[in-house]
Structures are given as structure tokens and as C-alpha cells.
Symmetry: C2
Subunit: 219 residues, 2 copies
């Protein structure tokens, strides 16, 4: 028994350290892209940031795109975690309109809290970069999660969901592009949610009271 335990824990030590180094590199990459822009990431800067040569980073990642891929995956995992609390934040309320507003605010907060992450997840900034199938699967999971959230708010029709994603991404992209760090479009989130519901499910809007919809900024 004790011999077996030893072998398992030692194999795990290597894997654990390697995974930690990879995570450290990805974290350093996030810091750098926030300073220099997504396409401004350089392998030499990245290596310097974690205390090794650029070429050494290649013993952890196959290519620069591989690093973007890890970041892409992590970004969508963060979205999944961030948006997973939308039921709790609504205080268990069954009111669809409130659900939608809470969800809209959460999504808005997620996107605007890290514009470069938004860029990587939702725009095609890096020529030639395509997410791996594993990372893309996480993106699809996040999209399904969004649709599930819409459905809980009474939006089940595919066209309605498309309209919803357009409105949400429009608000966030305008905020990020034209008023970074500000509130110009944030102030319109509730109104946009109401507008949307009135269009796609007006019956859900009847006699609805608007509660406070401030949500936390951290997942």
C-alpha cells in the first residue's frame, strides 16, 4: 500500500508543478495583454515576466496561439462561473423581468470588468487564431448557459434569444469602446432589458415591479 501511495503522489508532484507553471504563464499573459493589448503580447516579455527565456515557454506551450487558447478557455470558464450565480443574486425571485435584468447586469459586468478578455472571447482580434475543440466546447457551454438563463426569464424562441444576445453585446461593446470604465451604457441596462422583454414576451412584463438590480462585481 505504502509503495503505491508513493508512486501516485510523486507522479502527481510533477504534474502539479507543471500545471502550476502553465497557470503562472497564463496569468502573466493576462497581465501583459492588459498592458499592451491582446495582439501586443510577446513571448520574450512573457518569459521575462515569469523569470525564464521566451524559448523556455515553449516547453510548456506549443505556440503563442496555444497560450491564447488557454486564455480563451479560461475566459469562458470565468464566464461560466460568473454567470452561474444569476439565480442566487435574484434572491430566488420567480419574476422573469427581474431575472433578465439581473442576468443582463451580470453579463455586462463580466464583459466590462476585463475588456481585453472580452476582446479575446467575442472578437476576432488575432489573425489565424482558432480555439481548440476543447476550448470551443467551454465556449459552447457558456452559450448554452446564457440560453438557459434567457429561458428562465421567459425567452425561449431562438430569434428572441438572438435579439437578446445582440442587445447585451451591443451595450457592452459600446461601453467598452466609447466609455471605458464609465457608466454611459451601464445606465441603460435595465431599460434595455425591459425593452427586450416587451418585444419578445410582453405578457411577462405586466404588473412587474422593478427591484434593485445591482449585482456584485466579482464571481
Amino acid at each position: 500500500m505504502s509503495g503505491k501511495t508513493n508512486a501516485v503522489s510523486v507522479l502527481d508532484r510533477r504534474a502539479t508543478r507543471r500545471a502550476a507553471s502553465r497557470a503562472e504563464i497564463v496569468e502573466a499573459a493576462w497581465l501583459l495583454v492588459r498592458e499592451q493589448g491582446l495582439a501586443g503580447l510577446s513571448m520574450r516579455d512573457l518569459g521575462d515576466r515569469v523569470g525564464m527565456r521566451a524559448q523556455s515557454v515553449y516547453s510548456y506551450f506549443d505556440s503563442k496561439d496555444d497560450i491564447y487558447d488557454a486564455m480563451f478557455r479560461q475566459g469562458y470558464e470565468e464566464q461560466l462561473a460568473w454567470m452561474a450565480d444569476d439565480e442566487g443574486a435574484a434572491g430566488g425571485s420567480e419574476d422573469p423581468a427581474t431575472r433578465l435584468r439581473v442576468m443582463a447586469h451580470r453579463f455586462f459586468a463580466f464583459c466590462t470588468s476585463d475588456p481585453v478578455r472580452y476582446q479575446l472571447l467575442f472578437q476576432r482580434t488575432i489573425p489565424g487564431f482558432e480555439p481548440s475543440s476543447a476550448s470551443y466546447a467551454v465556449a459552447l457551454a457558456a452559450l448554452e448557459q446564457m440560453h438557459a438563463g434567457f429561458a428562465r426569464a421567459g425567452i425561449t424562441d431562438p430569434d428572441a434569444a438572438d435579439l437578446a444576445t445582440a442587445v447585451l453585446t451591443g451595450l457592452t461593446s459600446q461601453q467598452i469602446a466609447n466609455d471605458p470604465g464609465g457608466m454611459r451604457w451601464e445606465r441603460l441596462v435595465d431599460r434595455a432589458g425591459t425593452m427586450l422583454l416587451r418585444e419578445v414576451a410582453p405578457h411577462l412584463l405586466a404588473k412587474t415591479r422593478k427591484p434593485t438590480t445591482r449585482v456584485r462585481r466579482t464571481p
Copy 2:
């Protein structure tokens, strides 16, 4: 008189040829970015495309960013031209709802007809690139033109205009990112226009008949 005419026309010949070469370079840049992505533009490829060495391009433009700047300016000039016909296309109709729909379709068509242009005009794809004041002035003119178009459709409140820009850019960015060349979000443009007007100027929607809103794809 004739001596004066001669001097003017000869100076003009040089300026004319230089301007033509610059335009040729910018046009080649558009072709290349459509093939390789906005950030994938290389000066060597660009020089090859117009029949000169990369270094020679620097006798026409100060830097790569200077070329992006010329493209940025041209892109917004194209938007100004494209959106200038929105009154004519509505057939002189005074109906605000129709105006808004026509305008929405025009903007949508402009953006989706050249995704890489959309990227340069509306996203921050190139790290460090900032438009010159001259080019930015054209962008501001295009924005004012949009606001004038909204006003003609009955949308005059700043918040309402912000909501409108969010909806329009949301539709186009979703179309470009998720269904390039398709119609998934294009099918929703009319509906989105109606939704918007119902929210910001519901009185303008009373008894409104929905005419055909197909617009031309070229300015």
C-alpha cells in the same frame, strides 16, 4: 497667365501622381487585410502587392500606423457616403418608423459588407493605433450623421440614441462574429427597429404600416 497655368499644372502632376500612389497603397492594404486579418498586414506583403520594396512604402507613409490611419479615415468617409442616402431610400416617406428601419438596414449592410473595415472602425484591434485628429474628425462627422438620422426618426434623447447605437452595433457584431455572410441577425433588423422605437418613442409607432425595407448594398 500662361506661365502661371504651367506652374500650377506641373505641381499638380506631381501631387496627383503621389496621391494616386498613396491611394493604390491603401487599396492594396484593404485587399491584404481582408485576406490576412487586420493585424496580419505586413509592409513587405504590401510593397510586393504594389510592386515595390517595403522600405519604399515609407516614402509615402510615415509608418504602418499611418496606413491604418488612412484606412480608418477612408472607412469613415465610406460610412458617410453610404449613410447619406437614407432619406432618398425611404422614398421621401415621413414615417419615423420606416426611417429608422431603413437606416438600421443601411448601417447593418455597411458594417457586414466588409467585416475587417468594421473591425478597424469600431474595435480596438491594433495595439497602439490611435487615429489622427484629421481622421477622428471624420469619425465624429459620421457619428453626428447617425444622430441626425436618429433624430429624423424621432429619436432625439441622448440615452435613446445610445440605446439605438447599442442595438445596431449589437446586431451587426453578432452577425459578423457568429454568422459571417449569413442572415441570422439580419432577419431581426426590422424587429429590432420596432422594438427600439416602442421603447423610446412609442407614439411614433401608432398605426404604422411596415413597408418593404430592403435597401441597396452599394452606396
